[in-house]
């Protein structure tokens, strides 16, 4: 872990002002509950508590390049257990967005998936599994695309058989316009972050 040799508020200020839910970390008392509750803790370079402490210590590059901010799967365990009621997930997602907006792509896969997911929802109001996977798999070029598709072929067939994936393209939902205006509104209330 990065030990906090000094307190440097400059990055904290940047986070409070620019990151969605960034101000929430003011309430963090560094208890470690979130770190210990996270099912992905072993894969994270810095669990949430350490991220929040590093923000206060001004470790800008380390925070924005941390793999953990993009690894959160929204399982909500830390969030329901945080004794200070901090929406840990929202902060982690806020930081991920902010990092992407600064051109930092520590986990490019996750970023691409998120972007494609969002765009589909915005376009049709639902997820077209085959289209989403195609865009996600082929984001890095045709060769990796084919490789990844073959790896997941079995899963695709099972999904087809169970009707979880359709052969024809998904249709737009009814009232897509209202959904979009909701999403637009949600975008406006945020502090910005990445443009999708």
């Amino acid at each position: 872990m990065e030990t906090n040799t000094s307190y440097d508020p400059s990055f904290a200020r940047e986070v409070f002002e620019n990151v969605d839910s960034g101000e929430e970390i003011k309430m963090c008392m560094q208890c470690g509950m979130c770190a210990a509750s996270c099912p992905l803790r072993e894969h994270m370079d810095y669990p949430p508590r350490q991220i929040f402490s590093m923000i206060r210590a001004g470790k800008r590059d380390m925070v924005l390049n941390a793999n953990s901010i993009m690894m959160c799967t929204s399982c909500y365990t830390c969030q329901v257990r945080c004794p200070r009621g901090i929406p840990v997930i929202d902060v982690m997602h806020g930081l991920a967005h902010y990092a992407i907006s600064k051109g930092i792509l520590t986990r490019k896969d996750t970023a691409v998936f998120g972007r494609e997911f969002w765009q589909q929802i915005y376009k049709t109001g639902r997820i077209d599994e085959k289209d989403l996977s195609r865009r996600y798999f082929f984001a890095d070029g045709i060769i990796t695309g084919i490789k990844k598709s073959l790896q997941m072929a079995r899963m695709g067939i099972i999904m087809l058989l169970h009707g979880r994936m359709k052969i024809l393209p998904e249709k737009k939902i009814k009232g897509i316009k209202s959904l979009r205006s909701m999403l637009d509104k949600a975008m406006q209330t945020g502090k910005g972050g990445s443009e999708v």
Partner: protein
């Protein structure tokens, strides 16, 4: 119950713990008539269940004995056990209070010979020891009980068992026809000193209290260490009665947590450190680990912290433990968390875990009573618009005995002012 004489110059103190006893004594010794109402069959409150007091590590009974003596010597205090307030009406200088007196089934004639208990076969969970052992259904609440008198559990009244007990009493001290009664009091001011209740640890699901036998609370630890406790003072783990070698304390178990008890109770850090000395006295080789967020040991109590920290068998680790899992075969407990000093993951196994749970105030909360002001956590506050009813001790703030006693003395003075203003 005959009429109990009282006037608007009389003070009523509700709750016979350290705070209530202090308020009653201070007012009585200042020359005021006081009536003290206690819900338990004995006076003394929670401290009767403690083995030793921090930081001096002396027995609470000694201070209690002094207070009971002061009470016996002072004719201005009248007290009632097994009594509860049902109704309060009126205003400062003139309250009308209805008190309910629950039947004890044992009269003043009781000499504590214990014959009734000897013949009684029915056993109940012992409330004094948090159900860790059983007690006869006619019993002495504890060996230093004041008043020193047996009590019969209502569950056997009306059975042959109760008759058997009655017949065994040579002094005719058992009255099975005793009924709950109520009486009304006219008093000028009220001190509410009903103290606190331990936070219900079973609410903290990830610690498994109630499911894992070797996860106990700090109050249970006090009973385990007490010579008059369920194990005669030997600290043994509940699942198999084995001696302990490796014990963990989890601080802020539920405390300072929005999901459970949002405030700091201020005494549980000291209580755990105190209990680490109980363990060290009995088991020189026992390893003790105290998991904490921060240690709260205010002003002079910091010295006690320094002293315990010097003990090489006691380790302090900065971490809020996130989960406990029991090994069903051995009853051992796996604790997981993050060491927030090193960032390392904690996975440690212990024989027994003590949850340092906090204090929940028993504030005045009767439907048929004036409403009093409370803070966001339910502790009573001084209400400028509603003088005449004053909180004292742990109903106002979770705190130790010394501060409770100070606060109760202040409350007694306010109550006196309320009656002299009239």
């Amino acid at each position: 119950m005959a009429e109990v004489e009282a006037t608007n110059q009389t003070l009523l103190v509700v709750g016979g713990g350290m705070s209530g006893i202090t308020a009653a004594l201070e007012a009585a010794e200042a020359g005021y008539d006081v009536i003290l109402i206690e819900k338990n069959p004995y006076l003394g409150g929670r401290v009767t269940q403690l083995y030793q007091y921090f930081p001096k590590l002396c027995p609470p009974n000694c201070g209690l004995e002094i207070n009971f003596r002061r009470m016996k010597l002072n004719p201005r205090i009248r007290f009632f056990t097994l009594a509860e307030v049902e109704k309060i009406s009126g205003e400062e200088g003139n309250y009308n209070v209805t008190v309910k007196l629950n039947p004890r089934f044992i009269t003043e004639k009781c000499t504590c010979c214990g014959k009734c208990s000897d013949v009684c076969d029915t056993e109940i969970d012992n409330p004094f020891n948090f159900g860790m052992d059983k007690i006869k259904a006619v019993y002495l609440p504890h060996e230093f009980a004041f008043p020193m008198r047996y009590v019969m559990d209502p569950s056997i009244v009306g059975t042959d068992e109760a008759k058997k007990c009655k017949d065994a009493c040579k002094y005719d001290a058992i009255d099975l026809d005793m009924k709950a009664t109520t009486f009304d009091l006219n008093v000028g001011a009220i001190v509410w000193a009903c103290g606190w209740t331990p936070y219900d640890a079973s609410k903290i699901e990830y610690y498994g209290f109630g499911r894992y036998k070797n996860v106990i609370t700090n109050m249970m630890m006090e009973r385990l260490a007490s010579p008059n406790g369920p194990t005669a003072g030997k600290i043994l783990r509940p699942s198999d009665g084995k001696e302990v070698k490796n014990v963990a304390f989890i601080q802020c178990a539920g405390s300072r947590d929005q999901n459970y008890l949002p405030y700091c109770s201020g005494v549980c850090c000291l209580a755990s450190m105190k209990q680490s000395t109980y363990l060290r006295d009995q088991y020189p080789d026992c390893n003790i680990t105290i998991f904490f967020i921060d240690i709260r040991a205010l002003d002079r109590l910091e010295d006690f912290y320094t002293k315990v920290k010097e003990d090489e068998k006691v380790t302090f680790i900065k971490s809020k433990i996130a989960s406990i899992t029991e090994d069903e075969a051995t009853g051992d407990l796996l604790l997981e968390g993050e060491n927030t000093n090193t960032g390392e993951r904690i996975q440690m196994t212990f024989d027994m875990v003590v949850l340092a749970t906090g204090m929940v105030p028993n504030s005045l909360d009767l439907e048929s009573a004036p409403s009093v002001s409370k803070d966001e956590y339910g502790f009573m506050t001084l209400d400028p618009n509603n003088t005449g009813i004053y909180g004292a001790g742990c109903v106002k703030r979770p705190t130790d005995v010394a501060s409770s006693v100070q606060d109760a003395t202040g409350a007694a003075l306010r109550a006196i002012q309320s009656v002299t203003r009239r």
